[in-house]
């Protein structure tokens, strides 16, 4: 399957470029190689503890809405829309996890319902105040990658 994701994202992104911290890779500049993004999106190593918070937080990742995760049994209501993430750190390498988070479509195909968390390839009629913005920031993605890697 071919995905023309980068070219259109770069186009959309030029306008939004300055809203992203200088050192971070902007959404449109992320290089996806097959299903790998081997270059971290920021210069700061991912913080797994913060990644865990983002995973739970409904205003951030809200990953728990769709994924069960035994590492957070204290949280009520784990979703079932996606697979359980138990053992995700064994099944996936970091560079692949990064791609899943940046734009799940690049890994699972266009039909996936998992949102692209650092992608400007979004749906129609995006809420006005969110136009040109990604769901998460570059550092959030790195923190989540670090966290998911601990799920062995």
């Amino acid at each position: 399957m071919e995905i023309r994701f980068l070219s259109c994202a770069v186009f959309v992104c030029s306008a939004a470029y300055f809203t992203f911290a200088q050192a971070d890779t902007a959404p449109g500049d992320v290089e996806i190689n097959a299903i790998s993004i081997d270059k971290p999106l920021t210069d700061v190593a991912g913080d797994p503890a913060n990644g865990k918070k983002i995973f739970i937080n409904r205003k951030q990742g809200n990953c728990l809405a769709c994924h069960a995760n035994s590492d957070m049994k204290d949280q009520l209501f784990h979703g079932e829309v996606g697979p359980s993430l138990d053992g995700a750190g064994t099944r996936w390498q970091e560079d692949h996890l990064r791609t899943i988070l940046v734009n799940a479509k690049a890994v699972f195909g266009d039909q996936t319902v998992m949102p692209g968390f650092y992608s400007l390839e979004v749906g129609a009629d995006v809420r006005k105040d969110l136009i040109g913005k990604t769901i998460l920031q570059a550092q959030d993605i790195e923190d989540l990658v670090a966290y998911l890697s601990t799920l062995k």
Binding site: M1, I32, I35, P83, G109, G123, A124, R127, K128
Partner: protein, 284 residues
């Protein structure tokens, strides 16, 4: 820039991992006041992507289901009673109430709510119950049309639909241009919207029966509207629900009764063909 990926392998891994616990619609029968057996599951009409259609009732908790089975306990019935009062209330310059023209709603409105939206020759678009109420108010009563969700709109709609309680939903798509509105509605149903990039189908077709956090996803059928929502403690209109679901994808949502949402009402009503009218259904 183009690149290729090894999608099949990972899709297979994804599918293998997907076989986790998945809650399904409960296997129960809805009987209202121990006498009226409702059709809450039915073989889908031809061309429907899902083979068996379930009312949202099957996805709710035992407590919520019990509320709907008992019309004294159903808090939505207060709205229906309010609607009955409005039915008999004179308003507008012509000195008329709904009852002046239609008499006993139990007779004149029986079956009406099961077959709406209908094609409206005059406006050349489909009209739902809310639109019919407004045109009666303006043309026959000399009263102001209700604004969306305001005045008596929700209770009166609930009262009229409640006269068809238990009757099967069925649309006549051969009237006027209903078919093209159905097509428009179908496009909207599959359109991915918002920053989260989800369509109605992402949740209600691909994932019904599963939990999304605390919510048990139903097939998103519309046979119970206006429904009583326990979370909000009031009757919720269909277009309000549509807008809420679209807003949850982090998208701008269309106006109530706009062409987009009227098309969606035609299409989603068709998807629930054969289900009993449940108004006022009780939902979380």
């Amino acid at each position: 820039m183009h690149f290729t990926n090894n999608k099949t392998l990972f899709t297979l891994i994804g599918i293998a991992l997907c076989v986790t616990a998945s809650a399904t619609p409960v296997d129960e029968v809805l009987v209202i006041d121990e006498e009226l057996e409702m059709t809450t599951r039915v073989q889908a009409v031809e061309g429907h992507p899902i083979s068996e259609i379930y009312s949202g009732w099957h996805y709710r908790t035992p407590e919520t289901r019990a509320l709907e089975a008992d019309s004294f306990a159903n808090p939505g019935m207060l709205g229906v009673e309010q609607g009955e009062e409005i039915w008999h209330t004179v308003e507008g310059s012509e000195g008329k109430s709904c009852a002046s023209c239609h008499d006993d709603a139990a007779v004149s409105m029986k079956g009406v709510g099961a077959n709406y939206p209908k094609w409206d020759e005059k406006t050349q678009r489909p009209k739902n119950i809310e639109a019919q109420i407004n045109s009666c108010r303006v043309e026959n009563m000399g009263a102001e049309p209700y604004k969306f969700d305001k005045g008596g709109q929700k209770p009166l709609t609930a009262y009229i639909k409640n006269q068809s309680l238990g009757m099967p939903v069925e649309l006549d798509l051969s009237e006027g241009e209903m078919q093209s509105w159905w097509e428009k509605g179908k496009e909207t149903y599959y359109l991915r919207t918002g920053q989260l990039n989800l369509s109605c189908a992402s949740c209600h077709e691909q994932n019904h029966g599963k939990h999304i956090r605390a919510d048990h996803l139903s097939q998103g059928n519309v046979n119970g509207f206006p429904t009583y929502r326990l979370k909000q403690n009031k009757l919720i209109s269909l277009h309000n629900r549509f807008r809420g679901c679209i807003r949850d994808t982090r998208a701008e949502f269309p106006d109530a009764f706009s062409d987009v949402l009227m098309g969606l009402e035609v299409y989603t009503t068709w998807r629930g063909t054969g289900l009993s009218v449940e108004t006022p259904a009780v939902r979380q």
